[in-house]
């Protein structure tokens, strides 16, 4: 997997600020996620399945309990990779509490410590490939991909140490096995209750 798999549009500074402004101001229907995934338009995704929501909630609870005190866990905040003209709303975002403030709806990618995405049938490849490349290039130190739909069966993969827009795989386990998240977060995640 490499960053070359994703096509980043040439920077056109005149339309990006307007696009982001429209993203910020859009009246998003309840339960929907608004993202900029192609640098040119806003994609609204309907609410995910209950299984999806259950995994997000299980992880959220564990992160709240096990993270060092200075970190906060969010669902539904935006993460912008401005250099790549993307704004995503990851399933979970972990960041230092003092990085997440202000009137806007997004942080920059390099302000996140850990991002979690849970695949859905309609966007699995997007999470596996495009988002991984964007988060790596944007400098997100850790990316946890919860993928119940891959060819190898339900898996949880922890990516880290991004270099030149490419992650290293730190851990890859089946649902049921624990995932060790390294320092500075320094915790173990339990995947035994994940529905699949």
């Amino acid at each position: 997997m490499s960053a070359a798999a994703t096509d980043f549009p040439a920077l056109q500074p005149d339309d990006w600020p307007e696009l982001v402004r429209n993203w910020e101001e859009l009246d998003v229907p309840p339960g929907y996620r608004a993202e900029i995934i192609d640098g040119k338009s806003i994609t609204l995704t309907p609410p995910p399945s209950l299984d999806h929501a259950a995994i997000a909630s299980l992880l959220h609870r564990q992160l709240v309990k096990r993270l060092p005190e200075e970190y906060e866990t969010f669902q539904n905040i935006g993460v912008a990779a401005s250099g790549q003209k993307r704004v995503y709303i990851p399933d979970l975002v972990v960041a230092l509490r003092d990085q997440v403030c202000g009137p806007e709806r997004r942080i920059e990618a390099d302000e996140a410590e850990l991002i979690v995405e849970i695949t859905s049938p309609s966007n699995a490849n997007h999470d596996r490939i495009n988002k991984a490349a964007v988060y790596a290039a944007g400098g997100v130190p850790l990316y946890l991909l919860v993928d119940a739909l891959g060819a190898a069966g339900p898996m949880v993969t922890l990516f880290g140490s991004p270099v030149s827009g490419v992650y290293r795989t730190l851990a890859s386990v089946k649902f049921g096995e624990p995932v060790l998240v390294p320092e500075p977060l320094g915790l173990e995640l339990d995947t035994s209750s994940f529905p699949s």
């Binding site: 549009p9 429209n22 229907p29 192609d38 338009s41 994609t43 609204l44």
Partner: protein
């Protein structure tokens, strides 16, 4: 018969209606359009000036070759329930009587011809998702004017949809007359279409 690798997230029934209602109620930024493409709502800015120029020229050139009782329209949303879609083609040829039938919606399947002009940012959807959607709806002719194709601008006329798949009837470059078959039976001038 070709079956898509991943079925759209919403195909029929309750959730399609909910998606439609959400789309209808959406507060779209001034000048932008909202379409539903394979179960996602895509909000995009108004097309560029070259894009608009080509659409307008095609509009004018279609008028004298329309069969009796049909007209060519812009800004009409056409529905494709089987592919969870509501598209707004750049141009669509529809029976005039439909516009006066008292219903608020239009089905893509009633169109004789749809035209899409690509720009950076929507080209992929015009080439893939919309191609599949119009074919699934059984629109007899789909004219794709691809300004931003990597090998140079290309015009493709698709037709004879069968089981959701088109046959390519004709391809050409900007400058080649576009041979529209029955019921138009006329070649459309493309010599003044701006590239890129």
């Amino acid at each position: 018969m070709s079956v898509p690798a991943v079925e759209p997230p919403y195909i029929r029934g309750e959730t399609w209606d909910e998606l439609l209602r959400t789309w209808e109620a959406l507060d779209v930024p001034e000048g932008w359009k909202a379409e539903i493409i394979e179960g996602y709502i895509i909000v995009r800015p108004a097309p560029s000036k070259p894009h608009t120029y080509i659409a307008s020229k095609l509009h004018r050139r279609l008028l004298p070759v329309l069969p009796e009782g049909w007209d060519v329209y812009q800004n009409v949303d056409v529905r494709i329930p089987l592919r969870s879609g509501v598209f707004q083609p750049d141009l669509v040829v529809l029976p005039e009587a439909l516009m006066l039938d008292g219903t608020p919606e239009t089905q893509a399947g009633d169109a004789a011809l749809v035209v899409e002009v690509t720009s950076r940012g929507n080209a992929g959807r015009d080439r893939v998702e919309k191609l599949a959607g119009y074919a699934r709806a059984g629109v007899p002719l789909y004219l794709l004017v691809d300004r931003v194709a990597s090998q140079g601008p290309v015009i493709t006329l698709f037709g004879e949809p069968r089981s959701g798949v088109y046959r390519t009837l004709w391809t050409g470059k900007f400058g080649d007359p576009i041979p529209l078959p029955d019921p138009f039976e006329h070649a459309i001038d493309s010599s003044d279409f701006p590239a890129g």
